[in-house]
Every structure is written in structure tokens, then in C-alpha cells.
């Protein structure tokens, strides 16, 4: 018997088979089961039809070149290294601006002091407080909180 604890492979196995995400041995074993089982073959066909439905969805686009919009918003706001304080609003953001300026100065100083360093050394020290997690990852129950734990345990590649 190929699946001793159950007569048929689980949805999970069938779904992973459909995605070609089973290891070679499991894929072969399931393929052999499918060849003899109309019931599981029908389930796989449903999964395949669902994928085909996704392929029918029309491509979406914002319809504008967001790079230009974002460039404008970046120019209007401070906050990244090597962005010269051209925008008039920059000075209005004190004391944040003071911190940024101090960081920038320190970063430049470090860059000068360590000319053989990589690009990372030229970054203002203040920016190293950025954690590697993307912003906006507030917790709201288990499904929103798992990102931090999993990432810090090395899931990220």
C-alpha cells in the first residue's frame, strides 16, 4: 500500500504535487497513485483548473509612471543618505533633521576615515538601527506576528 495511513494522499500532498514542490520520491509515488485513482486525479484537475482561472485574470497597472511620483515625494522628504537637503521643507523637520544631519556627517566622516570600506561603511551610522525587517510589520494576532520570529530564525534567504 502506497499510503498506509490513509487511502488517498492529502490535499496538501496533491497541492504540492501540482506545484512541483514534492521531493522526487514523493512526486513519483504520488504520480503512481494518480495513475490508478480517478478520485485524486479529479482533485488535481480542480487545482489545475483553479490555476488556469488565475491565469485568466487581466494584468493590472496603476496606469501612471510611479517612479516619477515617488521621485517627487522623495525630493520633498529627507531621510536617506546622500540625499542633499535641497527641499525647503527639510529644515522644518528638526529635530529629526538635526539627527539626520549629524548622522550624515558622521557617515561621511567614517567614509573618509575608512576609504577602503564597502558602500555600507559610507552609510550614516544612524541608519544601522534599521532592523532587517520591512517596515509596517505591526502585530495583529499570529498571522501578522510570525514574520519577525521566522525571519530572525533564518527563513529569509
Amino acid at each position: 500500500m502506497t499510503y498506509p495511513h490513509e487511502l488517498h494522499p492529502s490535499d496538501e500532498q496533491l497541492s504540492a504535487y501540482q506545484d512541483d514542490e514534492l521531493d522526487a520520491a514523493a512526486h513519483r509515488r504520488l504520480g503512481a497513485h494518480l495513475a490508478a485513482c480517478p478520485r485524486c486525479t479529479a482533485r488535481i484537475a480542480d487545482f489545475a483548473a483553479l490555476s488556469a482561472d488565475f491565469a485568466l485574470l487581466p494584468p493590472e497597472s496603476p496606469g501612471v509612471d510611479l517612479a516619477g511620483v515617488i521621485e517627487g515625494r522623495l525630493t520633498a522628504a529627507p531621510g536617506r543618505p546622500r540625499t542633499t537637503p535641497r527641499a525647503p521643507g527639510w529644515y522644518g523637520l528638526l529635530p529629526l533633521g538635526i539627527g539626520a544631519a549629524a548622522s550624515l556627517a558622521l557617515g561621511i566622516a567614517l567614509g573618509v576615515a575608512l576609504p577602503t570600506g564597502g558602500a555600507a561603511l559610507h552609510r550614516p551610522v544612524a541608519l544601522t538601527v534599521f532592523d532587517p525587517f520591512p517596515p509596517g510589520s505591526l502585530c495583529a494576532g499570529r498571522d501578522a506576528c510570525y514574520a519577525r520570529g521566522a525571519l530572525s530564525s533564518g527563513v529569509m534567504r
Binding site: E21, L56, G79, P132, P135, M156
Partner: protein, 195 residues
């Protein structure tokens, strides 16, 4: 692996705005499409697409080339989407990964064929969009990442911050939930489907 993204991201990380603009142009449609389908309206999707790229710019110093840029970008976008859904009060607190209850429902494989042959493409799209809108956000996002973004289980795990085993089980449940939704609507007339 798209090395061009990583090369651009490295340049953007060191402050090159032109490189970042290229990244925006390369990915704005994908991020917008993902957010549109997560949120259900273009205005929110447009706002959050911009926000996601601005957050990406600000967070780029923390990005490491070991992390694929698109995976990292989609982490930012999905976090923004979940935050908005939470603020709207439309984030459902349901268990996505617990095993189904024993005897909960009929085995779907015994439920009879889906009406796919009878439905035109337009109806199938309507049916899918209706099903997606009805799903918990956690199922919706994993389906979008797999079916539209063609992410591998490893990439989905990194994007969602979950184990690959959880990707496998959650994706199967998400698919089963859409198929259940299809069956639920299959008894209705085609007019109802497009209503």
C-alpha cells in the same frame, strides 16, 4: 533569480535614485496588482503601492543582497496591506493552519465535478474574484503569491515569514477554500454569478 534587481537594489541602497526609479518601473505593476487584489479597490492599491516603494527606499539600508529584492519588496507590500485591512476592521482572525475538524465536511473529492466546462472565461473570472474577496486575507495573499507571482514555496515562506511546511498546508487549504466557494455558487444561475 533576477540579478538585475539585486544590482539595481545595491545601487539604490547606496543612494542612487535613478536605480531606485528603475526598480519602481520594473515592479510597480506587480505590486499594484497584488495590492489591488488584496484590498479590492484601486485607490487604496495606488496609495499603498506608493507607500510600499517609499518604505522600501527608506528601508533599503537594511536590505541584504542575500534576500531576493522582490521577496523583500512583497514583504513590505503585504505588511502595508494587512495594516490597512486591520485598520478597516476587515482582517479576519481565523486559524489558517490548524488541521480541519474531524467529520467537519464531506470529502471534497466526493462532491462532484466543478462546473468549469459550463462557464465562460468572464464568468470564471467573476467566480474567482468573488471567491478571493470572500477568503481570509491570509489565504488570499498566499494564493496570489503562488498563482500570480509564481513564487516558489521557499520564496513564499520568506515573504510571509513562515516555514515551508506551513506554506504547503496553508496553500492547500486556501485552494480548497476557493473550490468550496466555487461549489457554493455553482448551484446558482449564471446571472447570479455575474451579479
Amino acid at each position: 533569480m533576477d540579478d538585475a534587481d539585486e544590482a539595481l537594489a545595491l545601487r539604490a541602497r547606496s543612494g542612487e535614485r535613478e536605480a531606485f526609479a528603475s526598480l519602481v518601473r520594473r515592479h510597480q505593476d506587480r505590486v499594484f496588482g497584488f495590492l489591488l487584489r488584496m484590498l479590492g479597490n484601486r485607490e487604496d492599491a495606488m496609495d499603498l503601492t506608493q507607500d510600499a516603494f517609499l518604505k522600501a527606499w527608506n528601508a533599503l539600508p537594511g536590505w541584504r543582497p542575500e534576500a531576493r529584492f522582490t521577496t523583500w519588496l512583497f514583504q513590505i507590500a503585504r505588511n502595508a496591506a494587512l495594516d490597512l485591512l486591520r485598520r478597516r476592521g476587515s482582517l479576519q482572525f481565523v486559524s489558517l493552519d490548524d488541521p480541519p475538524q474531524q467529520g467537519d465536511a464531506q470529502d471534497p473529492r466526493d462532491a462532484g465535478p466543478l462546473p468549469e466546462e459550463r462557464l465562460a472565461d468572464r464568468q470564471r473570472i467573476d467566480l474567482l474574484q468573488r471567491a478571493l474577496a470572500a477568503l481570509p486575507a491570509g489565504y488570499r495573499e498566499i494564493l496570489l503569491l503562488r498563482e500570480l507571482e509564481n513564487m516558489s514555496y521557499t520564496e513564499i515562506a520568506a515573504t510571509l515569514g513562515i516555514q515551508e511546511g506551513t506554506v504547503k498546508s496553508r496553500l492547500a487549504r486556501a485552494r480548497a477554500a476557493v473550490l468550496d466557494n466555487y461549489r457554493h455558487h455553482a448551484g446558482r444561475s449564471p446571472d447570479d454569478l455575474s451579479a
